[in-house]
């Protein structure tokens, strides 16, 4: 065994570097979920009475629904292209733990979709009537929530790799799993917007993220391996 053998860590960082490089070559793709998110949040005040007090009540729900939908949209980019050009199966043959490599891909995907969404969302929150002082807390709740959503989404993306035109099916599979995140996240955002302590739901969101971090890559790896059969 060569002493120059790459460690799993190095392999994971290779995957991250490669995916980031590819994303920078095609920046347009990654702006779509962001644009979609902004449009959806815009739809809420347009379709209801734009009185600020009422908007403020609606805002947490609007933000989280928009985040969920935009994440669903973005999930197609996670594995599909690698599956189509054959690089995904080469990852499975690299001799490195497959779950770790898929986690690396999910992490990169989050950096390119979940993270920007979470950063933009507090601004949308302010537009929907949230006080500016609530921005840091809203940001934290959305960051944690988007991590969970990316991890859960990776399971759905892995399961639907073998399916043509999988958009609606992907949502059907991911949304039930995402409900706890949605419930706690919306609650946390709501508390943040009225200035109360978000500690309770925030801890739960964190717990969900950790749970996802440990279990989701394993489920995704199992699902992807099956699609390679």
């Amino acid at each position: 065994m060569s002493s120059l053998q790459s460690s799993a860590w190095r392999a994971a960082s290779t995957v991250i570097r490669r995916d980031l490089l590819l994303a920078f070559r095609r920046p347009g793709e990654w702006l779509q979920p962001l644009a979609f998110f902004l449009i959806v949040t815009l739809l809420f005040p347009l379709s209801t009475d734009p009185e600020l007090a009422r908007l403020r009540q609606l805002a947490p729900a609007a933000l989280w629904v928009a985040l969920l939908l935009a994440s669903m949209l973005a999930l197609d980019f996670l594995f599909r292209e690698d599956a189509n050009d054959g690089t995904l199966e080469q990852l499975a043959l690299s001799g490195q733990p497959f779950a770790v490599l898929l986690l690396a891909k999910t992490a990169t995907h989050w950096m390119l979709t979940g993270l920007p969404l979470a950063v933009v969302a507090p601004l949308a929150a302010v537009a929907l009537g949230a006080p500016a002082s609530s921005v840091p807390q809203v940001l934290v709740t959305l960051l944690l929530g988007s991590v969970s959503l990316s991890l859960i989404g990776s399971i759905g993306a892995g399961l639907t790799l073998g399916v043509r035109r999988s958009g609606a099916l992907l949502s059907l599979l991911v949304l039930p799993l995402a409900i706890p995140t949605l419930v706690f996240g919306a609650r946390a955002t709501q508390l943040a917007m009225v200035g109360e302590s978000v500690a309770g739901p925030l801890y739960l969101l964190g717990a969900l993220a950790v749970l996802g971090l440990t279990l989701a890559p394993l489920a995704a790896a199992a699902a992807v391996r099956i699609s390679l059969e």
């Binding site: 790459s6 570097r17 490089l21 690089t87 043959l93």
Partner: protein, 208 residues
């Protein structure tokens, strides 16, 4: 060192491989020249570990490949029908990332590999999508070479290669076998390999 024994494989309702036996020792190669649809690709993918046989064993170095998949894969270079290259990256970038997954590789080694497959004049920033099919195939051959794996499983390696490309493939294989490597190829036409240690199999029943 590679032993396939009593392999039975179904794909859907079709019983493709019936009790297939095959063995390769270091320095040996076998070319599967079976007709289309008879299981060449499925056999390669079963040995690589993607497909599960209904019964039978695949052994590498005397050990079943199920026992330590990752160790087996570190010794394996599998090249499927496609090129498995990222179209938006250049040849050099593709090779660098593919190698970094496995082991340290210097830029000089990558450059040398591209030379050896006849792509020395390639503009460094050209994305792979701009290369011809033959050139892309040569890049994937360079990758197989750089992995320094002992077992090569190649599915139609000569596809899209012109005469000089095919000569390069021959040279690569000969070198690999001389160095104690093993190779299992699926092809429509035999690659004319010199060594007496290359067997040809014309049907799934004739692999022993």
């Amino acid at each position: 060192m590679l032993e396939v024994s009593e392999l039975h494989l179904w794909r859907g309702d079709r019983h493709l491989l019936r009790g297939l036996n095959l063995s390769l020792a270091p320095g040996e190669a076998m070319q599967l020249l079976w007709p289309n649809g008879t299981g060449k690709t499925s056999l390669l993918r079963t040995i690589a570990g993607f497909l599960y046989p209904e019964s039978g064993h695949v052994r590498w170095q005397g050990q079943s490949i199920d026992q330590d998949r990752d160790a087996f894969h570190r010794d394996l270079a599998y090249q499927g029908h496609g090129t498995a290259l990222k179209a938006d990256l250049s040849a050099t970038e593709n090779l660098r990332f593919a190698c970094d997954l496995r082991h340290e590789t210097s830029a000089a080694q990558i450059h040398d590999a591209l030379d050896r497959v006849g792509l020395q004049g390639l503009r460094p920033d050209l994305p792979v999508r701009s290369l011809s099919a033959g050139q892309q195939r040569r890049v994937s051959l360079a990758r197989v070479m750089l992995w320094k794996a002992r077992l090569w499983l190649l599915d139609e390696p000569a596809s899209n290669l012109d005469a000089s490309g095919q000569q390069i493939l021959r040279d690569l294989l000969e070198r690999h076998l001389r160095g104690g490597g093993l190779a299992l190829l699926a092809a429509h036409q035999a690659v004319p390999l010199d060594s007496a240690a290359c067997r040809l199999s014309h049907s799934p029943g004739a692999t022993a």
